[in-house]
Symmetry: C2
Subunit: 359 residues, 2 copies
């Protein structure tokens, strides 16, 4: 048995993979695969409607929000957001919690004025900063946060308090639909699918319709949220197979019992690994305990040599993708929705055994 | 047996579909599917290198060209091209041969000055215009053409002559790698994959490296060709499964004997349908004979009622997706690389039978 702990693209639930294989060549007896079907076909229209319906059911958002399936990943959203919502005479507020937040800041600075209102760079991004009242100016164009940080393994434990008049935007690429959240507190949420929702190649965007309507004029059509709202994500040919997979994965999340149920499983998975880390000091967690991520568990061993030996021995035991991000090294176990508890159990067993082998 | 004549996403070669299904859950014995594999894994690196190698082998381009796998489809290229290559003090030349050319023009006009130097709107886009010497100003920023037009079924039969100093750009979304072309005559070629190369969700771009280096400064990273050249299409997480499918489809093109071989098959497929159209005047081809597309065969029947009956009866016989684009009506048979000759034979048989049934 192989368990894939890569940070994304990542493990997809086994039942979803089996179903997709079963109907790969002949979808719903139409005589060809959904990957070959027109995006205007009745079959695909049902799929994209189901994916949207699942997202709406799981998040509880109302009709004042649009659900979009776009291309280009979070990296395209880093630019699209300020292009739409950062006018020349305003300043956007960003919280810097890691490499990906930093990229969002860098792209926004190409478009307009940016204030990094809080950040933890000087603590090696080991925690999520507090945002005390007054941190975000009431005339900020918006506040942008990154709810989970894959590289250092930190995660917001709650939605930060923001002045009512400031729209709240979140990159949820690495923890979308992994736990209940008051999604209506956010004005715009985006996430590449390749961690919790399916394959790479499709970006889920949930955006307040009124906000979208307020965007800048004369934007390239593909970079204007209004285009995709008006076209129901079919302005141009969407990534049909990736959306199909997202429909299957969100079906699966619903079948598990929704976000509360998957969050409980995710919490237990993470607690099992953190418990092992906290056991005796051989493993050292990278994130401060109050900011620990339930998605990416990042830790170190006493020496880099032991870390390399750990990764190699784990792979030999069928536990792959455990090497930390190249910018920080160490070990990273990514345990998104699709990682079964059995995979985490196998990892914990391996960690205990490896620890013993090191005396 | 079902044959899918949709304009795209479209039929993928049966052997490719079988192979993808066979290894969907367990790719190369790694214990998981390629759709779940990290884009930094050895498995995926081999795949993207193979896709690039196939494109290089089939097109014969040299190392002065980069091969990129991007997201966002041709519609994103419509904006990205002028953002990179249309300075405020220059004018870009466009040839208008249909709806998609028109969209390219519309997006370019948001960025800078555009001259539509030739077009066939006043002839209902029924042919490809001549471009006599002097049509394109020698100081044009570039000339943009659309090599195949899906809606009216026209196709450039040869690469147009352009002043040496004017870069030639082509949207080849609907005929890329369907025939040999002097690809080095183009400075930038782009194509959504979903017609000749695989599934939707990945855009092939072939761009002259020197041209890319000359692009505008301070662009959003995702909209700057240099970003993707520098990152070998891995600046951000690419659409891995779509690229995998493109690797398989281009493997298949190579196995068929390359572009000359697939072009000969494509030519015969088209000739069979056009032969049926030219038989007795019941079917009327939409495109002028000198501009006929080998990819999209568009035609009319005597009445709209007969066209509706044709589409319905064809679908009942397993020939689906034959309805013309909503903007023009009529019938459209899209017969890209992946459509087997047997599908075209079945269509021709059906056309003859339907013709007889109409007295």
């Amino acid at each position: 048995m192989t368990y894939n702990f890569n940070a994304g693209p990542a493990t997809i639930p086994a039942t979803v993979m089996e179903r997709a294989r079963g109907e790969f060549i002949d979808y719903a007896n139409c005589g060809y695969g959904i990957i070959e079907a027109s995006h205007r076909s009745a079959e695909f229209e049902e799929i994209i409607a189901r994916a949207e319906g699942n997202v709406r059911e799981l998040t509880g958002i109302g009709d004042d929000f649009a659900v979009l399936f776009l291309q280009g990943g979070a990296s395209t959203q880093f630019a699209m957001i300020p292009m739409n919502f950062l006018p020349p005479d305003r300043t956007a507020a960003y919280v810097d919690t890691g490499l990906w937040s930093g990229k969002a800041v860098k792209e926004a600075r190409k478009i307009g004025h940016v204030a990094v209102v809080a950040g933890t760079a000087d603590a090696d991004y080991d925690h999520i900063p507090e945002l005390p009242a007054g941190t975000v100016a009431t005339d900020a164009a918006y506040l942008h946060i990154t709810t989970n940080n894959t590289i250092c393994g930190t995660q917001y434990q709650a939605v930060p308090e923001v002045p009512d008049c400031v729209p709240l935007f979140a990159d949820m690429s690495s923890d979308i639909l992994s736990r209940p959240l008051p999604f209506e507190s956010f004005d715009l949420v985006y996430a590449g699918a390749q961690k919790n929702l399916g394959p790479s190649g499709v970006t889920l965007v949930i955006v307040c319709r009124d906000l979208a309507e307020s965007g800048a004029a004369n934007l390239p059509s593909m970079l204007d949220y209004r285009t995709h709202i008006k076209g129901d994500s079919l302005y141009n040919t969407p990534p049909t197979f990736a959306i199909y997979m997202m429909a299957l994965v969100t079906d699966w999340i619903c079948e598990q019992g929704g976000l509360s149920a998957v969050a409980e499983v995710n919490r237990r998975k993470a607690a099992d690994i953190y418990g092992c880390i906290d056991h005796d000091g051989f493993y050292r967690g990278r994130a401060r305990t109050d900011s620990r991520s339930a998605m990416n568990v990042c830790f170190n061993l006493p020496t880099a040599a032991q870390e390399a030996a750990f990764v190699e021995a784990a792979a030999a035991s069928g536990l792959i993708g455990l090497k930390g991000h190249r910018s920080v090294g160490g070990i990273r176990a990514s345990i998104y929705n699709g990682m079964p508890p059995a995979g985490v159990n196998a990892l914990v067993d391996f960690m205990q055994e490896f620890r013993r082998s090191q005396g």
